[in-house]
């Protein structure tokens, strides 16, 4: 439904993504990536996680700068609140992933976005993490994501953007499906 003549620009380089898809289909070993994070305990429930290097396209890679994330718990947990809680960073990961997907799919479908905002809400019964009730799980009891999108598209096309973004999202997959986690002490 692109009615305007100006080329659609959501700032996503679709040609590069499509090119990578075709190239990696021919050399699937290059598609094997490894994502990494390093975390150090600071004090109390406060930790700092840094992210710099990763592996992909057959070699070591690194971000342009090192990113650092402080995590802590708020004062109602008797903590010092030096950072967001880890579960809130999970929400940030989901929101970032889905929204990147919305922009990419919109670019691919030639839909100009004007604004995209997502609100995330996740319920949790903290009797689980407190060990006070073994029937309650530690994690979220559900996540609700609400998008508000202003774009040159019909409501059905916008809904399809958001649905396709979920279908291709790594974080959505990580949250909705089980993943084996191995934790070792060395």
């Amino acid at each position: 439904m692109a009615t305007t003549k100006t080329p659609v620009d959501n700032g996503v380089n679709v040609q590069a993504l499509l090119g990578a898809r075709e190239a990696l289909k021919k050399t699937p070993e290059g598609a094997q990536f490894q994502w990494r994070a390093t975390c150090s305990w600071v004090y109390g429930t406060h930790s700092r996680t840094t992210i710099k290097k990763y592996f992909g396209l057959g070699q070591e890679q690194q971000h342009k700068t090192e990113f650092s994330f402080d995590t802590d718990h708020p004062e109602v947990f008797a903590s010092e609140d030096k950072g967001a809680t880890p579960v809130e960073l999970v929400l940030a990961g989901l929101a970032g992933c889905l929204t990147a997907g919305v922009a990419s799919v919109a670019q691919m479908r030639e839909i100009q976005l004007r604004s995209v905002t997502a609100t995330l809400e996740a319920g949790m019964d903290i009797l689980g993490i407190l060990g006070a009730d073994s029937d309650v799980r530690n994690g979220f009891d559900g996540i609700k994501v609400t998008y508000r999108i202003d774009a040159d598209a019909t409501p059905a096309e916008i809904q399809a953007l958001v649905a396709q973004s979920q279908k291709r999202s790594a974080v959505y997959d990580i949250i909705t499906n089980p993943t084996n986690v191995t934790v070792e002490v060395v």
Binding site: P28, G142, A156, Q159, A163, Q166, K167, Y172, N177, P178
Partner: protein, 395 residues
């Protein structure tokens, strides 16, 4: 294909491991009817001449139809001749069968896309007290233990079997992955009528955006019933089937289901509506609106607020798991280097990379209808023409 080769006076044999229509005779459940209406099985020079063009053939009727066609065209069929190997030899192909060997210049692979049920790895961790079935061994609910049944897969096979088992009094839980929702009847006409008329089924493999994806689209959620029932997820929920997400794993007797059910249902609803939009547009542009019912839309798929993410199978009363998770071809006898890294045959619309080898009857091989009985005619015409010119150039 045999008919087209005969028309071109090309000498050939049709090798059949069992009897004509073997998989229809031996690998289908009792109540199954074709998902396409009677009128739609149009073979070269042969079609439906009965009094119920909008009905759906039962299996015995389907077998009789194919038998009659084989007779009508005097197809040179060698029954009970199982092919054990096809390999390149002397610029052609050496065929080893249970009834002796053949040498030929060209080969048409028409063994289909559904030779074996495709069952996910999680089947290995199913508790031993639970029976597992595939659509190949399932015949009717009578062979299923009383008690709960987990049907995995919600395409044509899974939804039909889930409905039948639920109606037999065994409570069904249906694990839903990616699926394609369509109504059986829209605006008073069969959905296949619309798809045929509007040219959806004739779309070609070389005119489609992403053919690889199109070839992997699951079968339409359709059933062929005398009442022309729509068997979508809402219909199943109404009779008491419980929907859960795609099965993600079974560990220590606990099945885990993906939390993506809602989105998969949204995707299917949106996709269905795009098809209906296209149909409405075609109808309006081609002056059909006066002959059919007015356009309308169907209720969105109803997903409960928090579908279960995991159940203890035994404690939940599940006695049987039926894997309706798709089918795959068995090409273990094909010793020609034409496979890609995922074991699929590399081909261009059925023209296989090895000279003189052709493929038929696969999803979206040349057209969207390629896997339908109705799709064979056009594909056979195209591919037999290619085959004939290949033989001409080799003379």
């Amino acid at each position: 294909m045999s008919r087209c080769l005969t028309d071109r006076s090309i000498d050939h044999v049709v090798l059949e491991r069992g009897e004509v229509g073997n998989s229809w005779k031996t690998e289908r459940w009792d109540s199954l009817r074709l998902l396409t209406p009677n009128w739609q099985s149009r073979l070269p020079g042969f079609g439906y001449d009965g009094s119920d063009p909008d009905g759906y053939r039962t299996m015995p009727e389907t077998i009789a139809f194919i038998d009659r066609y084989a007779e009508e065209i005097s197809a040179p069929v060698r029954t009970h001749t199982r092919v054990s190997s096809v390999a390149p030899r002397d610029g052609g192909y050496a065929i080893a069968t249970s009834e002796g060997d053949w040498q030929c210049r060209t080969v048409v692979i028409a063994t289909g896309a559904c030779n074996m049920p495709s069952v996910p790895e999680v089947t290995e961790t199913v508790p031993s007290s639970i029976a597992t079935l595939t659509p190949f061994c399932y015949r009717n609910p009578g062979q299923v233990a009383e008690g709960g049944v987990l049907v995995v897969g919600a395409s044509a096979t899974g939804t039909q079997i889930a409905e039948e088992i639920q109606r037999s009094g065994r409570p069904v839980m249906l694990s839903v992955g990616e699926h394609v929702r369509v109504p059986r009847v829209y605006r008073g006409r069969d959905i296949k009528w619309w798809m045929d008329k509007a040219g959806v089924l004739d779309e070609r493999y070389d005119q489609i955006d992403d053919i690889e994806r199109a070839r992997k689209v699951p079968s339409l959620q359709l059933a062929g019933s005398p009442e022309r029932r729509t068997v979508d997820l809402n219909a199943l929920t109404r009779i008491g089937v419980q929907l859960v997400g795609r099965i993600a794993g079974i560990q220590n007797g606990k099945a885990q289901f993906s939390g993506s059910l809602r989105n998969l249902c949204t995707l299917a609803d949106l996709k269905m509506n795009r098809l209906l939009d296209r149909i409405d547009q075609w109808s309006a542009e081609n002056g059909f609106d006066g002959e059919v019912d007015p356009p309308h839309r169907f209720e969105a798929t109803v997903v409960e607020a928090s579908p279960p993410l995991g159940i203890d199978l035994v404690r939940h009363g599940i006695r049987t798991i039926l894997w309706a998770t798709g089918f795959r071809p068995d090409l273990s006898w094909l010793h020609v280097p034409v496979f890609d890294r995922k074991g699929r045959i590399r081909h261009d619309g059925g023209v296989v990379e090895a000279p003189g080898v052709y493929l038929m009857g696969m999803p979206f091989l040349r057209r969207r209808k390629s896997s339908l009985i109705d799709g064979a005619a056009d594909d056979a015409r195209d591919l037999s023409a290619h085959l004939a010119s290949f033989l001409d150039h080799r003379r």
